[in-house]
């Protein structure tokens, strides 16, 4: 009998492996991916569904605003900076003009302060509504998107009615808010105060926002699948968050009641009654819930501000060509995404010598390598979405 020696050897050497040999795979999430909110790229090394190393790659949207600011005048820069975090464009302008006003030593008229505050809070509401819209979408629920966007549309319409821009209001001027249309004009000078009916329309819109927030709560907070997908996922302890510079609602979700609106004086927030909502565990659910509660607080602030808005001038007396005196200052503000600040170095000219833009999302997503270690691929998306970043705010 002829025995195939090769076959025998092959059979004797082969063994059944009990340990499953798996191969690691590099998954390139982004820069074009439906849920990276723009051009964020994550290089994830995954073993099956579990990622053991995720490295973000940013810079696809770097526009060099810090350099561009050095060749522009102060009024021109507000045009640029409301494109940093474009879902809350208005809020970006505030710390910058406040920084310039600080160097100039200007007192901003009360009415202008109130208008700034109302519009900032409306920008916060619209930004948080975008989060309310996009976050369930990342978990697969499409309908909350439209409920949130519908209300955001209402808020943006009001913003547009005042400023003329939905996303890029460019409404703040050093010393106040945009004073007049054709300001140099000797023939036709139109003051840009709030348009008639704005206060009543805002009051109504705020009520509608509250209704929509209730609906969103029913749709999202009442859903067991959402809870299963977010509770205990992506837990961020407060001390780690602080060390990475994670700020805003993401920090408050970790249980820290810290809000720059309470401790800084860039806008007269001390006149109004509002609370700082905080989370308990710092997980994805808390980050969602804190933002939901913040919408309610912002609505409260807007309602109070509308009731108490004083009349008066819209702008302090400023020279026509603004030259900011020498000096340097750092002004930070509580933006919808977190701490937004400008370190302004002026050399006494029409434009800044150096402008450092501290944007919230940049620090907020620097936590990603830490927080995404060892999570499942669906959780990458859940955590990513819960951090609520905007790529313009990351790359500047």
């Amino acid at each position: 009998m002829v025995v195939d020696q090769d076959l025998v050897r092959h059979l004797s050497e082969s063994s059944v492996s009990v340990e499953l040999q798996t191969e690691e795979m590099t998954l390139n999430i982004g820069p074009q991916h439906p849920s990276t909110h723009g051009v964020l790229r994550l290089v994830a090394r995954v073993d099956g569904e579990r990622a053991f190393d995720v490295q973000p790659v940013i810079g696809y949207m770097h526009r060099g605003y810090e350099k561009l600011s050095e060749v522009r005048t102060y009024p021109q820069i507000t045009t640029l900076i409301n494109r940093i975090d474009w879902v809350a464009g208005y809020a970006n302008e505030i710390p910058f003009v406040v920084a310039a006003e600080k160097l100039l030593g200007l007192e901003v008229p009360e009415r202008a302060q109130y208008i700034r505050l109302i519009l900032t809070e409306m920008a916060r509401i619209s930004s948080h509504l975008i989060f309310m819209a996009s976050y369930p979408l990342e978990l697969g629920a499409a309908t909350p998107l439209f409920f949130a966007l519908r209300e955001r549309e209402r808020v943006l319409d009001l913003l547009e009615g005042v400023t003329g821009g939905r996303f890029h209001p460019n409404f703040n001027r050093i010393g106040g808010v945009k004073p007049a249309y054709g300001s140099g004009s000797s023939t036709r000078k139109v003051i840009q105060d709030l348009p008639a009916g704005f206060l009543a329309a805002t009051r109504e819109a705020m009520d509608r926002v509250l209704e929509a927030v209730e609906e969103l709560e029913l749709l999202v907070a009442d859903n067991e699948i959402i809870l299963a997908r977010t509770k205990g996922i992506g837990v961020l302890p407060a001390d780690v968050a602080a060390a990475y510079g994670v700020s805003g609602p993401n920090l408050r979700a970790s249980g820290v009641a810290f809000d720059l609106r309470k401790v800084e004086d860039y806008l007269p927030y001390h006149l109004f009654d509002f609370e700082i909502p905080t989370g308990e565990n710092g997980d994805c659910w808390d980050r969602w819930h804190v933002r939901l509660l913040e919408i309610r607080q912002s609505v409260r602030i807007v309602q109070q501000a509308i009731d108490g808005i004083p009349s008066g001038p819209l702008q302090a007396k400023v020279p026509k060509i603004i030259k900011v005196p020498q000096g340097e200052t750092y002004v930070r503000a509580e933006n919808p995404k977190g701490e937004m600040g400008y370190y302004l170095v002026s050399n006494g000219n029409q434009g800044p010598y150096r402008l450092k833009i501290r944007s919230a999302s940049f620090s907020n997503i620097s936590i990603l390598p830490w927080i995404l270690e060892g999570v499942l691929v669906p959780d990458i998306i859940a955590i990513l979405g819960s951090l609520d970043f905007v790529l313009g705010d990351v790359d500047r």
Partner: protein, 152 residues
Amino acid sequence: MAKGLWVTIYTMVRTIFRPGKYLATVNYPLVKETPVPRARGVIALDQEACTVCMLCARNCPDWCIYIEGHKEEKPPDKPGGRVKVRNTLDRFDIDYALCMYCGICVEVCPFDALFWSPEYEYSEVKMGAMLHDMDRLQDWLETVPPDPELEK
């Protein structure tokens, strides 16, 4: 879960039966929303009012306004009067592909030659066509709305 299902079915029923009240969107090319009067849609130019002072071009953060002009002598109104020198506009282009819609040019114009119009439907297939010349900008002037009333 049940509450979420209730929200969607409730919205569906009320949207079907009272679309006028509850519909959040419009059939865009068929129905159009009116933009607010202050909306920064497109910049209109009043050629008559422009004195070619270059202020807008110089204040533009993007350098997207191109102006050329020349001096023109006007005969005196009365015989024996002074000969008037007037600046005449030869070229006034705004490159909307570059424009950031900040409105600084409109604000700095001392002669009320520039206005914002809320008109928005002027997209083009080719980028070069986004450069509007002075005649096109003049045409936008008709769409400029009166200023809104102010809140007291």
